[in-house]
């Protein structure tokens, strides 16, 4: 689809706003519908759109398979890490209030970090699955 100017221009125009919307859904989840799962999928969709229009190789140049794998691991570790830190600060596992000692800030920071972990994991897993499926024949032909 790289040859078709309509696809190319539309993909270029939409790429940034889709990611912007994803970030809004990610960080505004406390106040409006949304959260890590939805935001992760939306941001992955932007990268998948890019890969569909400009080719898998171009997509892999933005986010390499290695970086993607580490993002998956980092997302889950961030979630678990928040739980461990709250335990280290004297609370229970995933007891966000213990993070700062006050309910208002502790819960906000805890939920923000946890949702960020979910978002990172979902984004990178969706990207990895798409690249694995779309690149299956290409990789095997090598």
């Amino acid at each position: 689809m790289k040859q078709n100017p309509v696809f190319r221009v539309v993909a270029k125009i939409l790429f940034a706003p889709i990611i912007m919307f994803g970030l809004y859904v990610q960080f505004h989840g406390d106040y409006s519908p949304g959260g890590g799962f939805q935001a992760g999928v939306i941001i992955a969709a932007a990268f998948i759109l890019h890969a569909i229009v400009f080719g898998l190789q171009a997509g892999r140049e933005i986010v390499s398979a290695r970086v993607n794998l580490w993002m998956m691991v980092f997302g889950v570790s961030l979630y678990g890490g928040v739980g461990v830190v709250s335990m280290a600060k004297g609370g229970l596992f995933l007891d966000y209030t213990a993070l700062t000692g006050s309910v208002a800030t502790g819960q906000h920071i805890g939920i923000l970090l946890v949702e960020l972990g979910v978002g990172l994991t979902v984004t990178s897993v969706m990207l990895a699955v798409f690249h694995a499926f779309a690149g299956f024949v290409e990789d095997n032909a090598k």
Binding site: I42, I48, M72, L94, V122, A132, D139
Partner: protein, 207 residues
């Protein structure tokens, strides 16, 4: 009244799409229609005021799943194999299970009943207290990330594990493949070898 009309319209649309999915043999059409099915159910969720669920359904069901199915379509034939759909035992089991489920529906509390079990347990506390106790306006987020943070950790790990599984099976992210790459030895395909290892032997024979 308006809400009821919209509900009936959407449910009829849902049944129509489901029938069309069953009846068509073109797999591309099936994929696009299952996306439409998800979008219609998302609209129903909006009508039920479950905006977060609708959002997820629209993003995951209608969006990403459709794209992933389309990516898989590159490796499978475009048409379903015809003529294999006359299994009376399977039909009997389907109708029987459906009848049992319909029978079970009569035991459910009526829709929106405030006195039903689910609305008596922890739900009232979450709804009335979470705003003042945790200072987060969106109740769905507080339940998901704070009250039930442990469950969501489990869900995240499930997504993570699923991604790892796909990577290992399809993208060759395995130890043998990695070592072969490092030493410069050319393995025929780490992927097909892994797949043949995982799949039971009988499946290979059939194909």
């Amino acid at each position: 009244m308006a809400s009821l009309i919209i509900d009936v319209f959407l449910l009829v649309l849902l049944v129509l799409i489901a029938v069309m999915v069953v009846r068509t043999c073109k797999l591309y059409a099936v994929i696009v229609m299952s996306g439409a099915y998800s979008l219609t159910s998302a609209a129903i969720f909006v009508n039920l005021d479950a905006v977060d669920v609708a959002f997820t359904e629209a993003a995951v069901g209608a969006g990403i799943s459709t794209i992933l199915f389309l990516a898989v379509m590159a490796y499978v034939p475009a048409d379903e194999k015809p003529g294999l759909n006359r299994n009376f035992l399977a039909g009997f089991i389907c109708v029987g299970a459906g009848a049992l489920l319909l029978l079970a529906v009569t035991d459910l509390p009526s829709f929106g009943d405030p006195m039903s079990q689910v609305h008596q347990h922890v739900a009232p506390r979450y709804l009335t207290e979470s705003g003042s106790a945790l200072h987060i306006p969106n109740v769905v987020t507080t339940v998901l990330a704070s009250y039930r943070g442990f469950d969501t950790l489990g869900e995240t790990i499930v997504v993570f594990t699923a991604g790892l599984g796909v990577l290992m099976l399809l993208a060759g992210a395995t130890r043998t493949h990695h070592i072969a790459k490092k030493t410069g030895k050319k393995t025929a395909s780490g992927v097909s070898k892994q797949v043949s290892k995982v799949l039971p032997k009988s499946m290979g024979k059939k194909a």
